[in-house]
Amino acid sequence: MSSTIASGTPGQVPQISQIPEAVIRIAGNSQDGIQAIGGFLARLAGRSEQEVMTFMTIPSTISGGPSIFQVRIGSGEVLSAGDEADMLLAFYQHSYENHLGSLKKGGIVLYDSDHVKEIQPENLSKYRHVGVAISGLTVEAIGGSGRDKGKNVFALGLLARMFDLSVPKLHKLLEERFAGKDPAIVENALNCFNAGYNYTLATAHELFCLKPGENVDHNQVVMSGNEAIALGLLAAGVRFGAGYPITPWSDIMEMLRRELPKYGGSFIQGEDEIASISMAIGASYGGRVAVTGSSGPGISLKTEALGWASMAEMPLVIIDVQRGGPSTGMPTSVEQSDLNIACFGGHGDSPRVVLAPSNVEDCFYTAIEAVNLARKYSTPVILLTDQGIATRIEAFPEPDLKKICQDISPDLSPIADHKPYDLSAADGITRHIAPGTRVATGKYPVVTGLEHDELGHPTGSPKLHIAMTSKRRNKLKKLGRELPVPKVYGPPEGQILLVGWGSAQGPIQEAVKTARAAGEAVSGLHIKYINPLPEGLEQIFEGFRHVFVVELNDEGLYGYGQLAAVLRARYCNPKIRGITKVDGLTWKIREILDLARALAK
C-alpha cells in the first residue's frame, strides 16, 4: 500500500486508490475497546468476502495496560497478520512511541491529538501523520463525561472513511453488537460512528478502497480459534465437559457452558484442574466422549489423570491452549512450548494422540477429528492450539453443518459377551461398553489404571504387562500408518524445507512465497498430526538440503526446538535443525527468512 501513497497538498480533492490489502494496527489501552474495533473490521471483511486475519496482545491485568489489535484485510489469500502495518491508529503517547516502529515507511499514523503531544520531527518525514482530537470530538458528538467511552467507535468511523468501508454493513454490525441493550446505546454508537465518518480529514488527501474479495462463491463466517474449537466440539457430538478457568482456555469453557444446555448437555466448572479432567473422564466412561482443557500450569496438573486415560484406554479430548511457560510464565503471550508435555507428559509409557490445528478454520475441523480419533482408537487426544490462534479472528467458508454434525450417544443395548482389553481383537483396539449395558454372560468389565487382564482385573504378570503395553502402543502405530501424508507447500525439492506446526503455518507459507519470489528454493511443510507422526516424512526430507523446524519454543540444551528434537529422534537425520524464538510474539516473515538464511550458510 505504501507505494500508492502520493504526497499532496491540503485542500486537494481526495484521490481514491484501489489497494489489494491493508494492515491496520490499533494501539491503546486494554479498556479502550480496541478489540471491539478490530472485531468490527474483521467481521466486515468476512461479510465482504475478503480474507482477514487478526493478531492481538492483551495485558494479563484486569484493566489497564497497553494493548494492541492488528487486523489484515485482503482481497487475496491472507496467511499472517502482517509484519508491518500500513496504518497505525494510536490513542496515547505510549501507543504512538511503542508502535511507530511497526509501521511501514511512508505509512499513515492516525493519532489522537488530545493524548499524543510529542512528535519527533524526524518521524514526520518517515510517516504520514494525521492528528485528530479523537477524545474531544467523541465527547462533542455524544456528550458524556469525557471519559474514554465511545472513542473506539468514533475511530472506527474515521477508518471507515479512510478505507471507504461499507457504511450500511458497519451500521448493521453496530446494531447487532448493541442489540438487546437500551436503544439509546445503539443510537449513541451510531452517532459516534457517523461523527467519525463525517469528520473532514483535512490532512488526508488520499482515501483507499479495498478491491472486492475473490471469495465470492460462498458464505463466510468470522470467529476466533477458541470459538471455532467450541463449535467444532458441538458439531462432533460432545455433550459433556468440565474445566477450570485459566487464560487463554477460559473462552472455550465459557462458550461451552452457554451452548451445551441447548443440546441437552452440560459443562461443569470443577473445583480444580484435576477434578475437571476427572469429571470429563467419568463422563467418557459413562459412554460419550467428553472434553476438558486448560492452558499452562493446568495441563501439568492434569497429567496424572491423562495417564489413567491412556492406561485405561478411555476416549477423551483435552484442549491445550498453549501460553508462555514454564510455571505461570507469560499468560497472555504466544508460545509453542507444550509439545513435550502433550506427547510425553506423565509417568510411565502412556501413549496418546496429539493434534495441532494451524488456523481458525482448522480449529473447527480438528476439534471434530479429535473426537473421532478418541473414539476410534479409544484413547485420550490432546488438541494443541496456542494463544496465537485462540484469540485471532479469521474468516472462513461456512461449513455444511447438516453433513458434519454427528450423533455419538452411547449404545446401551445388551450384548452377549465383552472383554474391553481383548488381546486378540483383530483391529487391536480396545472398546468399552458404557455402564447400563447388560452383558449376557454376567461377566462385567472394570476400567482401571492398574495393569490389567482382558477384563480389566489387576495383574502383576510380566507377560500381560508386555502384551498390554504393546497393545496401547500398537494402536497408535496403526493410526500413524493411516494418517494422511502432509503435502509440501511449494516444489518437493529445493534448498530449504521450513517445517512448522500449529500457528506457524501461515507465516511459513508466506515466508515460502516471499523467498520464492526472491528466487530462493524454499518450500514449507506443515505437520498437523504430532503424535503419532504420519509416515512418509523421511521421503519428503530427502528432497531438501536443509530441513528447518520453525517453532515458538526454546532451542533447549542441545539446540533443537521441541518438534525438531522429536523429528531428529525419529529420523536420525542431521539435516534437521531448529529455528526457534521465545519473545512471546507470533512469527514475522522477515524473522523466519533471516534465521533460515543464516542457518543455511
Partner: protein, 318 residues
Amino acid sequence: MNSLAFPFVPLSRTGTIPLSPVPPLPDTDRKPLTKKEVSADHPTWCPGCGDFSVLALYFKMIEKRKLWHEKITTVAGIGCSSRFPYFVQAHGAHYIHGRALPFASGISLSRPDLHVFVFGGDGDAFSIGGNHFNHTARKNIKLTYVVMDNQVYGLTKNQTSPTTPLGRKSKTDAWGNADRPINPMKQAISAGATFVGRTSATSPNHVLEMMEAAMDHDGFSFIECLSECVEFFPGAFDAAIPRKGGKFELIPPTHDVTDEYAAYRLSDNPWPGQFGIFYKVNRPTKNASEAKIIADHKAKVAGLADWQILQKSFDRMK
C-alpha cells in the same frame, strides 16, 4: 477448503467381538442377584479386615433392592478399600488416588439413569482428595460415598492418616501423631453434604440400613464406616464393639436430622461417639439444577435438530 481426514464412522462398541443379539428381558422376570453372581475377584484384603463386611453388605443390598448388574456402577480411588470395584461383578472403575468423587460426578451428571456408589478410605477422602470431598458435598451431586475409615494408611503399610488419633505412633510419626485428626462428620456437615451417616463394619445390620438410606437419598450421601485395619491398627475401634467390651451407641431417636447445629454437636461426642444418621436434608442437587438449565435452554430451540441449533450460532458469526 478444509475437510475431515477422519470422518465419523459409526463404531461397533465391541470391536471385533461379534455382536450376538440378546433378547430383551423384562426386569420382572429377573431374579435378585445372588452373592455368587455379584461377586468377582476374591478380595485382596487381610483376613479379618473390616472391609469384608462392607463388601458383603453391599452384595446384600444389591440382592435385597433387586439391583441389576448393569445398573450397578462402583467407583473407587486408591487404597486398600478402594480395591472394591474388582470384587463386584458389575460395571466398575478403579480411578486415581483421591479423585474418585469427581470421576463419579462425571458419571452421575452425564448419566442420570445410574446411581453411582463410591468406596474409599480415609486417606483418599480426607487427605489427597479432601478438596473434592468438600466440593462434591457442596454441589450436592447425586451419588453415595462410603468411606471405610481405618484411621491409618494400610496399603502403604502404617503411616499416619488424616483421621489417625493424636498420639498414635506410625512409621511416619514414630513419636506419635501431633496433628489434629479430621472429624469426618463435621467435615461433611460443614461442607454441605445433605446426607451424613456413621456406622461400623462390626454392626452389619446397621451398615445395611445406612447404605439403603444413603442410596434412597436424592443428593450427595456420605457414610463413614469404621473398618478396622487388623494388620496395622488393631483394636482401633474396640470402644465401639460390644463383643470387645465397647458400646455401639445409636443416635437417640429424638435427634432432629435436619438440624445442622444439633448434628454438629453430636459430632463432638467423645470417642467412639454415636452411630446413625447425623444430618439429612433435601436441597436441590447439581443434577437437578443442570437438568433445569437444560430444560430451559431446550425449550428455546424446541423442534430444531442439533445441526440447526448450531447453524444459528454460525449465522450470528457472519
